[in-house]
C-alpha cells in the first residue's frame, strides 16, 4: 500500500486503477491486442479484400496458399481468406452476443437464487427444466414457430441472427446459474457480508458491491468457455439447416466442412481451428487480467 500519495492527490475514478492494473498483466494485454486485431480484421477485412466470400471460381478449386489466395481455395474455388474474414464476422457476433446473453442471464438467475432464499427453489427447478430440455427438438420447435415471424420483422439474416443468438443463449445459461448460485450461497455466509448486512446495506448494494465481485472468476471462466461453445454450437445448427443459409461461411462451418479434407488439404482445417482457438485464448487472457484488475486485494500489490 505505497500509493497513498497518489490517492491523496486526487480522488481518481476506480476504473483508471483497474486499467492500470490491467496494463501490467502481460497476458491480458497481448490477449486484448490480439482480440482487437481479429475484430478489426473481420470487420474491415472483407471491404479491403477484393474477393467476395461466396464467389465461385471453379477453375481454381482446391488450391494451396498462394499470392492470389493467401489461405488457398476450397472445393468450389472460393477464396478461403475471404471466407475466413466473412465467417469471423458471423462467428464473433454470434459467439460474443450469445455468450453475453448466457452469462447475463445465468449470473442474474444465479445471484437471485443464491441470495434470496425464497426464490431459490423455483429458480433452480426452472434451471433443472432447462438443463433437461433436448436441444435439437427444442430448436426445431423454436424455428418452426418463430422463423417466419422474425424473418418478416428483421429480414432473413437479421431474423436468423436473433434466432440463433437467443436459442444458443437460452440453452446455455444454466451452468453459469448453478455455479454462481453455489458460490453466492457460500459467500453470503462470510463475515464481511454479515458485517455489511449488520450496518444495514440494502440488498441491491449488497449484491453489486459485495457479492458480484467475489463470484467474478467463475463467471469469467464461463464466459471464456461460453464463446467457444457458442461458435461450435452455431456451426452444428447451421449444419443441420437450422442456422444461416448454407453458402454463408462461419468459422464453425468452415471447420466442420474441412474436416473431411484433413489429409489432403490440412491447411484448410487449420485456419478456422486456429481462429477459434486464438479467439478463445485471447478472451481467456483478457478475462484473467480483468479478474486480477478488479480484485482490490491484488490491485496495487
Amino acid at each position: 500500500m505505497t500509493d497513498i500519495p497518489q490517492i491523496a492527490a486526487q480522488p481518481r475514478n476506480q476504473w483508471w486503477d483497474v486499467w492500470d492494473q490491467f496494463k501490467t498483466h502481460k497476458g491480458a494485454l497481448i490477449g486484448a491486442i490480439f482480440f482487437l486485431v481479429i475484430l478489426l480484421g473481420v470487420i474491415f477485412g472483407p471491404w479491403l479484400w477484393g474477393i467476395d466470400a461466396t464467389f465461385i471460381d471453379i477453375r481454381s478449386r482446391n488450391q494451396g496458399p498462394s499470392f492470389a489466395h493467401p489461405m488457398g481455395t476450397d472445393q468450389l474455388g472460393r477464396d478461403s481468406f475471404a471466407r475466413m474474414m466473412a465467417g469471423g464476422r458471423v462467428s464473433l457476433a454470434v459467439g460474443l452476443t450469445a455468450m453475453a446473453l448466457a452469462i447475463g442471464l445465468g449470473t442474474l438467475i444465479g445471484v437471485i437464487a443464491g441470495y434470496f432464499k425464497r426464490l431459490d427453489g423455483l429458480l433452480m427447478r426452472t434451471t433443472d427444466l432447462f438443463l433437461a430440455l433436448p436441444l435439437l427438438p427444442l430448436l426445431l420447435v423454436i424455428i418452426m414457430l418463430f422463423r417466419d415471424k422474425l424473418n418478416a420483422a428483421f429480414g432473413p439474416e437479421g431474423g436468423i441472427f436473433i434466432l440463433m443468438v437467443s436459442a444458443i443463449g437460452a440453452t446455455s445459461w444454466m451452468q453459469t446459474a448453478r455455479i454462481v448460485r453455489g458460490d453466492v450461497l457460500a459467500i453470503k455466509e462470510r463475515e464481511f457480508v454479515l458485517a455489511a448486512r449488520s450496518i444495514g446495506t440494502p440488498n441491491r448494494r449488497m449484491i453489486t458491491r459485495h457479492i458480484l465481485p467475489n463470484v467474478l472468476s467463475p463467471i469469467m471462466v464461463s464466459a471464456t468457455l461460453g464463446i467457444a461453445n457458442a461458435i461450435i454450437t452455431e456451426s452444428a445448427l447451421s449444419f443441420l439447416g437450422l442456422g444461416f443459409p448454407p453458402d454463408f461461411p462461419t468459422w464453425g462451418r468452415l471447420l466442420f466442412d474441412s474436416v473431411d479434407y484433413l489429409q489432403q488439404y490440412p491447411e484448410r482445417v487449420m485456419w478456422p481451428g486456429l481462429a477459434i482457438s486464438l479467439t478463445v485464448l485471447s478472451v481467456n487472457y483478457m478475462g484473467d487480467g480483468l479478474r486480477d484488475a478488479l480484485d482490490p486485494k491484488i490491485r496495487g500489490r
Partner: protein, 341 residues
C-alpha cells in the same frame, strides 16, 4: 440437512412430472416425422397407415397419459419381473415401443448402457482425475510455465470440437500408422466385443483409448479452468494467511483448507456433468461408431421416434434433478455455514 433432503426429494416428484409434460410437448411439437427417413418410393397413403399403426395421430393428452402409465407403472413392474422372476401380470400389456425399431425402448437403453458407461463414464473419470491436479497446481503456481502450458492446452482443447479432434486422431492412429504396428488403434468401436481374459481386455483398452482421450480433453479443459479460478480466489483469503500464521504445513493449507473451500463451483460443474455421461456424447460416439445412448438419442430425434426421445430425455431429467440435489447437499458438507432451512 436430513429434513432438507427429504423435503427436496418429495418436491422432485411434481417437478419431474412437470418437466415430463414440457418435454413431451416439445418432442411432439417438433416437426420430424417417423416416416421422414423412408425412401420416397413409399407412397403417402402407406405412410399414413404407418403413422396410424404407431399411434402418432392420437390426441396429445392421450399419448402423454399412455406414456406416463407405461413409464411409471408398466416398465417398473417388468423390471421387477425380470430381476426377481415374479409374475406381476404384465404379459398382456403393450410396452413402451420405439417407433423405429418397434421394440421396447427400455431394452434399447439397457443394450446401449454398457458402451456408454465404458467410454463416456471412463472419460469423465479420467478427465476429472487429470483436471483436479492441473487446476490446483496452475492456481498455486499462477503464471508459471506449467500454468501457461495448462491454459494453452485446455483452451485449445475446449475450442477444438470432437468432430475435428476425433477425426484427427483417427487419421494419425488408424490411417497413418500401419495396422500391424503396435501403436495402431481401431477407428471403429466394436460393441460386440466381450472382455473375458487379458487379451480381450487389452483390445477393449485399445479401442477405448481414442474416444476416451477425445472426450477427456474437453472435460479436463472445463473442470481444470473452474478449479484454477476458484483456487485463485481462495488463495488470497484471510483465512489462508491465518492458517499459515498458525504454522500449518503448506500442504495442509493448500490441499485441505483452500481446496475444500474452492470445491463448490467444481462440485457444481461435476454434478452437472455426470448426467451427461448418461446422455452420451453424440458427436464422439458418432465419430468412433460407439453407438451408445448419445447415438440412440440423435437417431431417435432424426427419426421422429417420440417414445424413445421422450424416455431418454426424461431419464436424463431425473438424473439432472438428482445430481443437482446431491450437489446442494455437498455444499452443506463442504461449507457448514450454508444452510437451506
Amino acid at each position: 440437512m436430513f429434513t432438507f433432503t427429504i423435503r427436496r426429494l418429495i418436491l422432485t416428484i411434481p417437478t419431474l412430472l412437470f418437466i415430463s409434460l414440457v418435454l413431451f410437448t416439445i418432442v411432439k411439437l417438433s416437426p420430424s416425422d417417423p416416416t421422414g427417413n423412408l425412401p420416397l418410393t413409399i407412397p403417402p397413403e402407406v405412410r399414413e397407415k404407418i403413422r396410424e399403426s404407431l399411434g402418432v395421430n392420437k390426441p396429445l393428452l392421450v399419448q402423454y397419459l399412455l406414456w406416463l402409465k407405461q413409464f411409471f407403472w408398466l416398465e417398473p413392474r417388468i423390471f421387477l419381473e425380470h430381476s426377481f422372476g415374479w409374475n406381476l401380470g404384465t404379459a398382456d400389456e403393450t410396452r413402451l415401443i420405439s417407433y423405429q425399431t418397434r421394440s421396447p425402448v427400455m431394452d434399447l437403453i439397457v443394450q446401449r448402457l454398457p458402451q456408454t458407461l465404458w467410454v463416456v463414464g471412463v472419460a469423465y473419470l479420467v478427465g476429472t482425475l487429470i483436471a483436479l491436479p492441473i487446476g490446483i497446481i496452475s492456481a498455486y503456481k499462477q503464471y508459471s510455465v506449467f500454468d501457461q502450458l495448462g491454459t494453452l492446452v485446455s483452451m485449445i482443447g475446449f475450442s477444438v470440437p470432437p468432430f475435428f479432434s476425433g477425426v484427427l486422431v483417427i487419421v494419425i492412429f488408424s490411417v497413418m500408422i500401419p495396422s500391424d504396428s503396435y501403436f495402431w488403434l481401431p477407428s471403429i468401436y466394436d460393441t460386440t466385443h466381450e472382455v473375458t481374459d487379458w487379451a480381450s481386455f487389452k483390445y477393449q483398452f485399445r479401442q477405448m483409448i481414442m474416444p476416451v482421450m477425445v472426450l477427456a480433453l474437453q472435460i479436463t479443459a472445463q473442470i481444470s479452468r473452474f478449479t484454477r479460478a476458484s483456487m485463485l480466489d481462495n488463495l488470497n483469503q484471510d483465512y489462508v494467511r491465518t492458517a499459515r500464521a498458525k504454522g500449518l504445513k503448506e500442504k495442509t493449507v493448500v490441499l485441505v483448507h483452500v481446496l475444500r473451500n474452492s470445491m463448490i463451483p467444481v462440485v457444481t460443474v461435476i454434478a452437472l456433468g455426470i448426467p451427461s455421461i448418461f446422455g452420451g456424447a453424440i458427436i464422439t460416439e458418432q465419430v468412433f461408431k460407439v453407438n451408445g445412448l448419445g447415438q440412440l438419442l440423435i437417431i431417435a430425434i432424426q427419426g421422429g421416434d417420440v417414445p424413445t426421445v421422450q424416455t431418454l430425455t426424461f431419464i436424463f431429467a431425473i438424473l439432472i434433478v438428482l445430481f443437482n440435489l446431491i450437489a446442494d447437499v455437498l455444499y452443506g458438507i463442504l461449507d457448514p455455514r450454508i444452510r437451506y432451512d
